[in-house]
Amino acid sequence: MDKDFMTHAAADADAFLLASRFLAQEAKVLDERRFDEWFEMLDDEIIYEVPIRIARLKFADETAGDGHFIHDNKSRLKIRIDRLNCGDCWSETPPSRTVRVVGSVLVTSTERPGVLEVDSALLLYRQRGSDSNGDTIAVRRTDVLRLGEKGPTLLRRRALVADTSLRTPNLGVFL
């Protein structure tokens, strides 16, 4: 077999493994509500975005209005986490019990060295309160990971939810 092909395939497999591990680890950290640890997984230049989606015939038109539920840089994410930890965060009191299932991982290299684009699908199950029916939030994510000395960090996340109208009353959970 072609040597270059094998080299590329091995590199692809390494990248896939690295990205998949990162996403699985992130899901566990978030499900266990270790938000300060999650914050450490974020790049200083992170943009975390949850776009508003509307019903249109063409896929590209669904987010054409450039609206978002959330558009956070790292300083806004810090406030979000401080809120979750502050003790008076009623939307998450008691905290939602969550399970994140991450799959359909696709890794694409970019022109920037050490920067990967990672697509994934996330099914987030969330039970709020103590006796209400759980909500499922279905999300397609397009992430950018930066590989640094301490490992990968999340540089960009675009979490596109399937719903035009959210079926959960707030986004007190990270997607």
Binding site: V50, I52, I54, A55, R56, L57, D61, G65, D66, G67, H68, F69, I70, H71, D72, N73, S75, R76, K78, I79, R80, D82, R83, C86, G87, D88, C89, W90, S91, R128, G129, D131, S132, N133, T164, S165, L166, R167, T168, P169, N170, L171, G172
Partner: protein
């Protein structure tokens, strides 16, 4: 969760009549029964007596700026298409085909000159006029009368400051008459520049298992909840100051027809730069206040109007808030509909707007600041969503309903400001729950008015 509905020997109409009497007596004593926050009979009566009769906000003109633009919305439970025709006219059309009722428009927004029903192909212009149907000759012999078989149009559509309101009742007063003093408040909020405001992005929507009136009532004048419900905003560093004990920093405006507003003494609270909600001097310099009277101008400098509800389900908030830590708290303008879905369940629709003359980067930052505070991901609004759920649950309590356990509306009251020169009544504080009471008094008035119920007149 199961929705408890008390068994009753009364018919629906007599239950509603009795409930209105009960609410009136309760309010006279500073109390309120829980029923309206989740009850099937109440919900059905609201659809008939409030949402098909009131002026309901449907869209802002800047959402359909071009010829053939449309958005789909709801008036109560009824789906409507709001269209812009080539002559610039605005139409509010019932989104049901006249042939079998199938919706003719499936998108949330778009641009089209015609709507074609996917069932049999009946086709309409975007002003609602019937154009034709397939196999016309074979199927009908002659074309159905286009005057008679167009999409049903909302009988009343009026616009103020770009806000499009529709009313499904022929004999309602004009929009301005309906808004009454709220129109004067609209001038202070939305009339500061001839180019008006523009919607910055499509509306955000999410479902809350709380009744629509919890939102409407809260935004009519509940500053009291802020120090507890939103204290996380202080603890997390989201809010610039301490949100506790803010009720005396706020003042109330109780207007006719159930509309209410709140203003905050922002300059006194945060500093003189928060006249005009904190709009920067270079942008204030471009505002045109020539249409405002002295009282309106004074509000801008001492008591900017921050929150309000137009009966039944339209509210807004404009408050200074930083787009990120360290940034100057800037004004954003968030408008919302508390859209009824079912008893005790609503869908929140909300939009961010900004004055169109302001620089694009400023508008974008104001959008980010507004969305950081409000909406499903908002640092403020997330908490309201769950607290209002609790109100609907209380209304579904067999115990509360059997014993008529009342809610407490007895805050200490003061006389309205005798020197107030604007419309309605002005209170120097929001403690007192005047505006919430005003909302409910208006609600009773509409809920009692059943004389025009066509489906029952037969």
């Amino acid at each position: 969760m199961y929705t408890y509905q008390p068994i009753s020997s009364e018919n629906d109409a007599s239950y509603i009549a009795g409930l209105c009497d009960r609410i009136e007596r309760s309010l006279d004593e500073g109390q309120m029964p829980a029923d309206p926050f989740r009850d099937d009979r109440v919900f059905r009566a609201e659809m008939e007596r409030i949402f098909t009769r009131s002026w309901v906000f449907v869209a802002h003109e800047t959402e359909i700026p071009n010829s053939a633009d449309f958005v789909t919305r709801r008036i109560g439970l009824d789906p409507v298409i709001v269209t812009r025709t080539r002559d610039g006219g605005i139409n509010v059309l019932l989104n049901h085909c006249r042939h079998r009722g199938t919706p003719v428009c499936a998108e949330d927004a778009g641009n089209t000159t015609h709507f074609r029903c996917p069932y049999h192909g009946w086709t309409y212009k975007n002003n609602g006029e019937f154009v034709g149907a397939p196999e016309m000759q074979m199927a009908y012999g002659k074309r159905p009368d286009p005057k008679k078989w167009g999409l049903i149009r909302a009988p009343r559509v009026e616009v103020t400051h770009g806000f499009i309101f529709a009313c499904l009742s022929d004999d309602a007063p004009s929009l301005q008459e309906y808004l009454a003093g709220a129109g004067w408040m609209f001038d202070v909020l939305f009339g500061l520049h001839p180019d008006g405001l523009r919607v910055l992005a499509p509306p955000e929507r999410f479902v809350i298992r709380a009744d629509w009136k919890s939102g409407a009532e809260n935004f009519s004048g509940d500053s009291y909840h802020v120090g507890t419900a939103h204290y996380s905003a202080t603890l997390s560093g989201f809010a610039a100051g301490d949100l506790r004990n803010n009720g005396n920093r706020a003042a109330g405006f109780l207007l006719d027809n159930g509309h209410s507003f709140v203003g905050h003494r922002l300059p006194e609270w945060f500093g003189p730069e928060f006249q005009f909600w904190g709009y920067p001097p270079e942008l204030r310099a471009q505002m045109d206040l020539s249409n405002l009277d002295e009282t309106q101008k004074e509000l801008l400098t001492t008591l900017p109007i921050t929150i309000g509800t137009i009966f039944p389900n339209f509210s807004f908030v404009r408050f200074p808030s930083a787009s990120a830590p360290g940034r100057f708290p800037m004004a954003y303008t968030d408008i919302r509909l508390w859209q009824p879905l079912e008893p005790g369940v609503m869908e929140m629709w909300h939009w961010q707007l900004e004055y169109a003359f302001m620089p694009e980067e400023y508008q974008r930052e104001s959008y980010i600041a507004g969305q950081f505070g409000f909406g499903a991901g908002g640092m403020i609004e997330q908490d309201d969503t769950v607290l209002w759920e609790g109100v609907a649950r209380f209304a579904g309590s067999p115990w509360a309903r059997r014993d008529g356990i009342p809610m407490h509306y007895k805050q200490k009251r003061v006389e309205p400001d005798p020197d107030w020169k604007g419309p309605g009544q002005h209170f120097s504080t929001t403690y007192g729950e005047y505006m919430q009471e005003g909302f409910w008094r208006r609600w009773i008035k509409d809920m009692r008015d059943h004389a025009r119920e066509a489906n029952q007149d037969g």
